[in-house]
């Protein structure tokens, strides 16, 4: 009962912590306010009645979004131009697809800042401010196009990340299963279970061949440390094969039991959990990018055709709410679901 209460308390604390992050950081506030004023406008448009309080709230939220869009340029530029705590620049630690996406987002931010400045009467660009391309303001069309194109690269990058993460997850899941069943395996080997021992023999023979190939491919001068480590692992498997050959089941079981099962299980469980978190982040990123491409294409097409009225406008608002909700989820998930550092193994090969 107390464990259940503790879990509930921890869940509540975690939720409040994420909510606190959401109200302390500009990006979640932007997504939340956009979703909220679009919801109000959708409700007002659908119901047809104009409530003074809600329309005032909607206009205040739009004012807040203008301010946020005006200042977001600083965070975008600092992300690209400034090194992180370890002195690495954005372009050197990310793929070219992600870099392209962020550069396009920064370009979009510049236009959004100019647009916010025009709306708030801080900037006066004269006729340029009212220039349009196909009934759509230039300062709306260009950033939207940049975001849409950037989202394509973001989807590409997330797909690549998913590929890597799925491969790592497969390995981690296999390891977790292996170490979960380790104790049972040791008992079966100790009792002389034929099929288990045959399976172990086949597995170790495959590993010995693989490690021998890896050692042959390494440079003896430059990769001496890696070679030494692989030689130690090779010896370990060869010793086990020798024990199998001599029918020394007890010795083999003792050798298998030398490794710290709990440590290995904890390590690979953390690796698996990290993999799941990265996979979820990649999927949410893909969903976010696809929704952005859809809403921009839809709204731009309707705007160009002069159909941003009535039910079409309501559908744009509804889609916008979904897009902002996905964006808010992405922000909060990136904060709430943090990867853990797996425990470090000792360099000794056991």
């Amino acid at each position: 009962m107390s464990a259940v209460n503790n879990n509930e308390c921890n869940r509540l604390n975690k939720t409040l912590d994420i909510a606190n992050f959401g109200v302390s950081t500009i990006e979640p506030i932007e997504k939340f306010t956009k979703a909220l004023y679009r919801s109000i406008d959708l409700f007002l448009g659908y119901a047809g009645k104009v409530s003074t309080s809600f329309s005032m709230l909607s206009s205040r939220l739009k004012g807040s979004v203008d301010i946020i869009e005006g200042i977001s340029i600083y965070s975008r530029v600092s992300e690209l131009a400034c090194p992180d705590e370890k002195g690495r620049y954005f372009f050197s630690k990310n793929t070219w697809q992600k870099c392209t996406d962020r550069v396009l987002v920064a370009v979009a931010c510049v236009f959004k800042t100019i647009n916010a400045g025009i709306k708030l009467c801080v900037l006066n660009l004269g006729k340029i401010a009212s220039s349009t391309i196909g009934r759509i303001s230039v300062f709306r069309l260009i950033p939207d196009c940049c975001i849409a194109i950037g989202s394509v690269f973001a989807i590409w990058d997330n797909k690549n990340v998913l590929k890597e993460v799925n491969a790592d997850l497969k390995v981690a899941s296999a390891k977790v299963e292996q170490w979960t069943n380790r104790s049972t395996l040791i008992e079966q080997v100790r009792s002389g279970n034929y099929w288990e021992i045959v399976e172990l023999k086949t597995r170790y023979e495959g590993k010995v061949k693989k490690i021998q190939v890896e050692i042959n491919n390494l440079d003896p001068v430059n990769d001496s440390k890696s070679i030494a480590k692989k030689m130690a692992i090779l010896k370990k498997y060869q010793d086990r094969l020798d024990k199998i050959q001599l029918n020394d089941n007890v010795g083999l079981a003792d050798d298998l039991a030398k490794q710290d099962i709990n440590f290995k299980l904890k390590k690979w469980s953390i690796v698996q959990s990290n993999g799941m978190i990265n996979k979820n982040k990649a999927w949410i990123g893909i969903a976010n990018s696809i929704s952005k491409i859809f809403i921009i294409t839809y709204a731009t097409t309707l705007g160009a055709l002069g159909m941003l009225t009535g039910p079409y406008w309501l559908s744009v608002l509804a889609t916008g709410i979904v897009v902002d909700s996905i964006g808010l989820t992405k922000c909060l998930y990136a904060y709430g679901a943090k990867t853990q550092r797996p425990p470090k193994e000792s360099s000794a090969v056991v």
Partner: protein, 302 residues
């Protein structure tokens, strides 16, 4: 003694006559070229060093601006002072155009929105028991800012006519919590005949326990709570500075925080005293912004 002509003839035929000034150059040319090369290298290094320092400084400034633009509290604090004092001062001095009402309205909306959302931060602080790790003064400051945030949120919603605080206060103020007492006394057979007890029960039944609420102003509550927050925060930073075990980094951070709290308290005192000098208030507001940015930048970059 040979004649000059014979002396000349005795000269080595292989000797090539070199003009004296070229002879001098031949001996000093290696040092000139070395000096020239060294100077060019030093100029290049100097230019490179200056350029790297400019780039480094620019990165620090952009990084600080980027960090500030992400933190909603700091941005709201900056816009609060810009909207409240600095814009008015700049308009008075005709530095900025007079038609910035849209910007001021948007900035006011942003500050109101962020302040309302900060109620969630207060709820998290108390529900997650984060106060266990803080000193009593710090907890008092958090309570004050929570009250200020709640009052500010109520005022914000009142501005948009979602709620009517005066009506709510009047309704609360009219509550007679012990109105059941005369009825209870009247229902008890022997007790209801005691006239003094009847008078007392009637008096208790008419007591309006929350009558004082009618006299309160939410605006005053929000302002006073915010002043208390600045005061408690200043006291907490003084404790940190005077504590023997504090590291120098913590003391510097506390010093910058203290400068910010004092500037806010000074502005609050000037506003309470009814100061109307727009430029003076603008200067104090600008000081508040500068100290706020400085303390945040140090927290991020130390």
């Amino acid at each position: 003694m040979t004649s000059p002509s014979l002396a000349i003839e005795s000269v080595d035929r292989n000797f090539v006559a070199v003009p004296i000034h070229d002879q001098a150059n031949k001996q000093t040319n290696p040092s000139i070229s070395t000096w020239y090369g060294r100077t060019v290298n030093e100029v290049k290094n100097c230019a490179h060093t200056i350029f790297s320092k400019i780039v480094f400084l620019a990165q620090k400034v952009i990084g600080a601006l980027g960090s500030i633009a992400v933190d909603s509290n700091t941005v709201a604090g900056i816009f609060r002072r810009l909207n409240g004092q600095v814009f008015d001062a700049l308009q008075h001095l005709k530095v900025i155009p007079p038609n910035i009402d849209k910007l001021k309205n948007a900035a006011g909306s942003f500050v109101g929105c962020v302040d309302t959302l900060q109620v969630v931060g207060g709820v998290d602080y108390f529900c997650s028991k984060k106060y266990n790790a803080d000193s009593d003064v710090k907890v008092a400051s958090r309570i004050s800012i929570f009250v200020a945030d709640v009052a500010g949120a109520l005022l914000w919603f009142q501005e948009m006519s979602f709620i009517n605080l005066s009506k709510a206060a009047a309704a609360l103020g009219n509550i007679r919590l012990f109105s059941f007492v005369p009825k209870v006394v009247a229902s008890v057979p022997l007790v209801r005949d005691v006239s003094s007890l009847q008078r007392v029960s009637a008096f208790v039944g008419e007591v309006r326990v929350f009558g004082a609420i009618n006299q309160l102003s939410m605006c005053v509550i929000a302002r006073r709570a915010q002043t208390l927050f600045y005061a408690f925060s200043a006291v907490d930073t003084i404790h940190t500075i005077s504590k023997a075990g504090s590291s120098s980094e913590r003391k510097i951070q506390a010093g910058l925080d203290l400068s910010y709290w004092i500037s806010e308290l000074a502005l609050d005192a000037l506003l309470t005293a009814g100061m109307t000098n727009v430029v003076g208030l603008g200067v104090v507001g600008a000081v508040c912004i500068t100290t706020n940015v400085a303390r945040f930048a140090y927290k991020t970059y130390k």
